[in-house]
Symmetry: C2
Subunit: 452 residues, 2 copies
């Protein structure tokens, strides 16, 4: 196998060569090595070049690996050996994190290397800086020199080609809205809570057992992983660079079985969505939140750990991409697609559609809402709610109330007409002060009718 | 607007130029002109070149058009004026058909022009010939000359980037199966038959009124349009070139309201699918047919005129692309994406993943089946069916029978275990010979369990 991976090391190949250095020897790195080695002749046909993996940086060189290091590939525990090797054309950064990885990627680019990465955290934190760096590196290069390329398909939704699609399929189009199921762990959990009636804890255990949860599951269930991805997609779709912590983020921790019962009564289910929408030619809003999704919506049918992104645009209208959001081979496959494009010399697409320049983020949005209130039964609750809704200019669309099991801890749900999130928050804050109200109210947007 | 489209005609641009000749001034051609003219500065930024539309060929130059001809663009009724103009770099063929369009595309390529086309019929009929022509034209070109590019994103599923995805996202992967809702007219009809309980005739009328039907709706309802697209997708996924009429093709004309009732009893609905599956390293099977799809399958949620293609592959597992299959702007948008890639100099991807070379088409496939039999009530029907199933080695999975309304014309449904289509056909032929059997039996695959 290693002969195939590094053909020139054992044969007299007539092809030009391109040399890769991989930084990170874990799950994704191993997947990339496997795909590249087992397809070497095909890739030579595709690119006109032999692809040689000549450098691999890993944390611990003594650790045994579940893949075969290509023949002739030098293994090191210092990524500087890789990015400073003048014979290496392209660096593949798959170690993760934002400290060492940042150093590695920035210095590799400055050294004139192409970079392919799968690092979501790095891209979420530094994409605009990386874009500027690539631009300045290329401006400083001699006329006629091939520009440095930077690609990161695997950083968002692993196996779904959403980055290249956002970069290449909307060049003359205008993105209006993005709605995505962009965290596999929580979608697995919500699916098992809805279909199998599992509790929150049972479903989280199931997701952990299957390896869907991050090392710190708060990143998943709190919506933060989804928010990182949404931030990147917003950069591509709208050109905005929004600090992550400005995007309204609500995880799935407060969802109950009751919410699924009510969603079912409404004819739908609940999904954790990242949504960004252009409100005007200058404003874009966004949120990560559980949301009610009607059963006939394509996002309702995305089950288990699958990811999906729906893009609404002026020319293409609704387009949805669904697939594996994570995992060794889906992620490695996306890195390999990037590597081949870099080797073929495809031109680095614009970072984003500059038609959207000048768009700014606003921290509020309009939607129909689902509001669940817990209460101890007493007189005047409906009157209180009605009066508060009127005061806050919230139109009540429906009130849902299952048969009460416990008069001291019951719940009912209000669904609203389209209203700003900020108004819902104020309404909820006041309701929570009422003597009959127990604990905190839970609210989420109802898609799609007039969402935002 | 025309000043923007052809900037150099009225200003002293410092950019290089690239010149386009468009052949076809209808719906799609007009959409392309609109998108190109309204985004001219953006495209110059993206490609480093001013894009000039200098030639437009239309059938009737005197006809008024719903778009503005760019300033400086010469309009002709002879496409030869376009493809023989030495100053034109790229030809955009959007006239449709396979006679004049074939001439136009082949001669343009021979003249060393890049070609972008939206012509499904042409690609279905001549893709391998075009691939060979592009190859030989490029081999004959001088060393260092930019190769001729040929792109056809809009030819299959209008606005869905399925062609570039098949060419770029599976380079190190192996496609195992493709299942698609690839005809918008019939999907619109099936959706309205299922959800709104419309009859076949009512739903066809609705589709025609909305412009979803081809001039000859037989191409839609007979499954032939879907088959053309499936043939193209099979070329991309498996490298095979199957004569269209060898692919088993059943349209939606024999579906009845009863079938939707039975599908609903089974927990699903009916979709017209094009399916191709690799059976072994050397064999691929395919069909176009209505098929039962379970409600929790993402394809069941694709409603109206929307298209969707699901690709199963070794690395990416299941990936689904859904969006607009037709229409002015979705189709024109795909052509524009191709034009920009050609102008940027992206390298023409391989026609297909050559890992799949040596794969051959086999004209049979295995699936669970749904078989509906009409009958006049008499003794011995169940016994007859049971005996015939046994003889033909067909395992009965379930028998569905709604309350009989008319003893002289009733129907029941058998669902089978996984079995070859050829066996089902023989079984059906024998059943139809029984005295109790009325008319022809209807059968279709049940997806997904063990389909094929």
């Amino acid at each position: 196998m290693s002969d195939v991976a590094n053909p020139s090391s054992s044969s007299t190949s007539l092809h030009a060569t391109t040399t890769l250095g991989i930084v990170g020897g874990g799950t994704v790195g191993g997947g990339i090595v496997s795909i590249l080695t087992s397809n070497a002749p095909l890739f030579t046909t595709m690119t006109g070049k032999d692809l040689l993996i000549t450098r691999l940086a890993v944390r611990d060189t003594s650790k045994s690996r579940d893949f075969i290091t290509p023949e002739g590939c030098k293994v090191t525990d210092d990524f500087n050996d890789v990015i400073n090797d003048p014979s290496v054309d392209t660096i593949v950064e798959v170690m993760g994190g934002t400290t060492l990885a940042k150093d590695c990627v920035f210095r590799a680019l400055k050294n004139g290397k192409n970079v392919v990465t799968a690092n979501k955290a790095l891209i979420a934190a530094y994409l605009p800086e990386i874009e500027s760096l690539v631009k300045s590196v290329n401006e400083d290069r001699n006329e006629g020199t091939k520009p440095v390329e930077f690609r990161y398909e695997a950083a968002v939704c692993g196996g779904i080609p959403i980055i290249s699609s956002m970069q290449g399929d909307y060049v003359g189009d205008e993105v209006e809205m993005i709605s995505g199921i962009i965290n596999g762990c929580t979608n697995y959990m919500l699916t098992s809570m809805d279909r199998d009636g599992l509790s929150y804890d049972e479903s989280l255990q199931g997701a952990s057992d299957l390896g869907y949860a991050e090392a710190d599951p708060t990143l998943d269930v709190g919506g933060f992983d989804a928010r990182s991805k949404l931030k990147i997609l917003m950069r591509l779709a709208f050109g905005v660079d929004v600090p992550e912590d400005e995007i309204s983020c609500k995880g799935i921790t407060d969802l109950t079985k009751e919410d699924f019962e009510y969603a079912s009564m409404l004819g739908g289910t609940i999904k954790l969505l990242g949504v960004a929408k252009k409100l005007s030619s200058t404003e874009v809003a966004a949120f990560v939140s559980p949301a009610y999704v009607a059963n006939d919506d394509v996002l309702a049918s995305i089950s288990g750990a699958t990811n999906a992104v729906e893009v609404l645009s002026s020319n293409l209208q609704a387009t949805t991409y669904s697939g594996q959001g994570a995992g060794r081979y889906p992620t490695a496959n996306s890195c390999v697609n990037d590597i081949i494009k870099v080797c073929r010399g495809d031109v680095n697409p614009l970072p984003f559609n500059s038609k959207q320049e000048g768009v700014e983020f606003v921290n509020d949005f309009k939607s129909k809402f689902y509001i669940r209130l817990r209460y101890r039964d007493q007189n005047g609750i409906t009157a209180d709610c009605g009066r508060l809704c009127e005061e806050h200019e919230i139109g009540i669309y429906s009130i849902l109330q299952n048969p009460i099991k416990n008069r001291n801890d019951a719940a009912f749900v209000i669904t609203t007409d389209s209203v700003n999130l900020s108004k819902v928050k104020k309404f909820v804050a006041e309701v929570e002060g009422k003597s009959w109200c127990r604990g905190e109210a839970f609210f989420m947007p109802l898609l799609r009718d007039e969402a935002m």
